[in-house]
């Protein structure tokens, strides 16, 4: 495939992150509110004078710390290990990749809270979360190429779908940080990187998922506030 050693290892790590991190966040977070509702924790905890805003955003911050801290910790361990081994630490890549992980975590945390705010039971929440994950996973480059290009879909449509998918954006940005020449990135990724500079794309890759996460979290809060609490 034209690459080996560290690049292969990094690529594997990125691919695993794309698959594992979103589903880990969705599955562990989607039951935050619906689970509390199911087992009557919400009924008791909200009988004290705290605002719904405090409860909801407090939950989000708590969950974010829980899911993001292990990822950050793994990054720090890698840095320490590299430093001990005498390797030159690429700090710019470290901060950008940490930012990408932060943004990806935010996107799926927001989506998870959005789902959690309107479903009545944890089982339904899990089902929806899994469906969201599988759909987004299907629309990374591979599916875009194999299905959409074969079916002669409009190129711009393919590009828009790719750019709307936080998982695809993370994938392209993360791989491009390490090696933008890798062929496994796929044609859509090459097309995106040809359309804009890498710097602009990495900025979009951090800003867009963050925005998605915040929008879904706000929508979730609106629903949580305006419907029956238990």
């Amino acid at each position: 495939m034209g690459f080996s050693g560290l690049s292969r290892l990094l690529l594997m790590y990125i691919q695993i992150t794309i698959v594992i991190l979103p589903i880990f966040i969705l599955i562990t977070t989607v039951r935050s509110i619906s689970g509390d509702r199911d087992n009557h924790i919400l009924e008791y905890m909200l009988s004290f004078p705290i605002s719904l805003k405090q409860y909801y955003w407090g939950k989000i911050i708590g969950r974010f710390i829980t899911v993001y801290l292990p990822v950050l910790f793994a990054m720090v361990v890698a840095i320490v290990y590299g430093a001990v081994k005498g390797a030159l630490i690429p700090w710019n890549i470290f901060f950008l990749y940490t930012g990408l992980l932060f943004a990806l975590s935010s996107a799926f945390l927001g989506i998870a809270f959005f789902i959690s705010s309107f479903v009545k039971s944890s089982e339904v929440a899990l089902g929806i979360a899994f469906f969201v994950w599988i759909v987004l996973l299907a629309f990374i480059d591979i599916a875009l190429i194999s299905l959409m290009m074969q079916q002669r879909f409009n190129e711009e449509l393919i590009l828009i779908i790719a750019m709307l998918n936080p998982m695809e954006i993370f994938r392209v940005a993360a791989i491009s940080l390490f090696d933008p020449e890798l062929t496994v990135m796929g044609p859509v990724a090459f097309y995106i990187l040809d359309s804009m500079s890498q710097g602009v794309f990495v900025f979009i890759s951090i800003a867009y998922p963050l925005g998605v996460g915040l929008i879904f979290a706000f929508l979730g809060f609106k629903i949580f506030k305006n419907k029956d609490l238990v």
């Binding site: 087992n39 009557h40 924790i41 009924e43 008791y44 905890m45 909200l46 009988s47 004290f48 004078p49 705290i50 605002s51 719904l52 305006n226 419907k227 029956d228 609490l229 238990v230």
Partner: protein, 212 residues
């Protein structure tokens, strides 16, 4: 204190509360009774501001519990029928209550001791790991320490042994003045000596309301 006017709550096609009108006043101890599905829990949850009514309203001291939930909930203590499986330790739970409702932690400890629950020994244990009786005692201690003008108990003695029930009734007697006590119960004989009003609900309506 609690004014319920033309309150209607539907869940899909099912009418859980059907045009309920009721006033609960200071110094009243009320037994709220009725068969399963009569609408007791829906009524309590409406008082706590959890449900958006389909018609009518609930006012607590003239204030809407949905629009001004923090102000209203400062005045209400609530103990559910089954203690929820809260993962917080007793210390963290007390911290949450102390910050949110400005309840003195020492007062919680005082009432817990009165209920024969040793908080200090269990301080760092998860709430859900306590026995059913211990959890119920803790929730009762919190409800009393909060010193609210409205106390709502949903089958509060379900998990308590006879001695703990006696402690609970004794503490309630000491704390009932100038308050509204609302007991949801299926066993009137248990709270008969405490209550001075009985409300019976059926099919979402108040069908019987008698003051002693």
């Amino acid at each position: 204190m609690i004014k319920i006017s033309n309150l209607t709550k539907k869940f899909g096609a099912h009418i859980s509360l059907d045009n309920v009108n009721c006033e609960l006043n200071k110094n009243e101890s009320i037994a709220l009774m009725g068969a399963n599905g009569a609408g007791k829990t829906t009524l309590i949850r409406s008082i706590l501001g959890y449900y958006h009514p389909d018609g009518g309203e609930v006012l607590i001291n003239g204030v809407n519990p949905i629009k001004n939930r923090m102000q209203v909930l400062q005045e209400i203590s609530f103990v559910p029928q089954l203690p929820p499986p809260i993962k917080l330790s007793l210390y963290e739970l007390m911290q949450y209550i102390s910050i949110s409702a400005k309840v003195d932690k020492e007062l919680i400890e005082h009432y817990a001791n009165e209920m024969k629950l040793d908080i200090k020994e269990n301080m760092h244990k998860s709430f859900f790991k306590l026995s059913g009786g211990m959890k119920q005692k803790m929730l009762i201690a919190i409800s009393l320490a909060k010193n609210s003008s409205i106390i709502i108990y949903d089958e509060p003695t379900a998990n308590l042994d006879p001695k703990a029930r006696d402690d609970f009734y004794r503490l309630l007697k000491q704390n009932e003045e100038e308050k509204v006590l609302l007991f949801v119960t299926h066993r009137l004989e248990e709270v008969k000596d405490l209550v001075n009003r009985q409300i019976y609900m059926d099919l979402g309506k108040v069908v019987w309301d008698e003051k002693a």
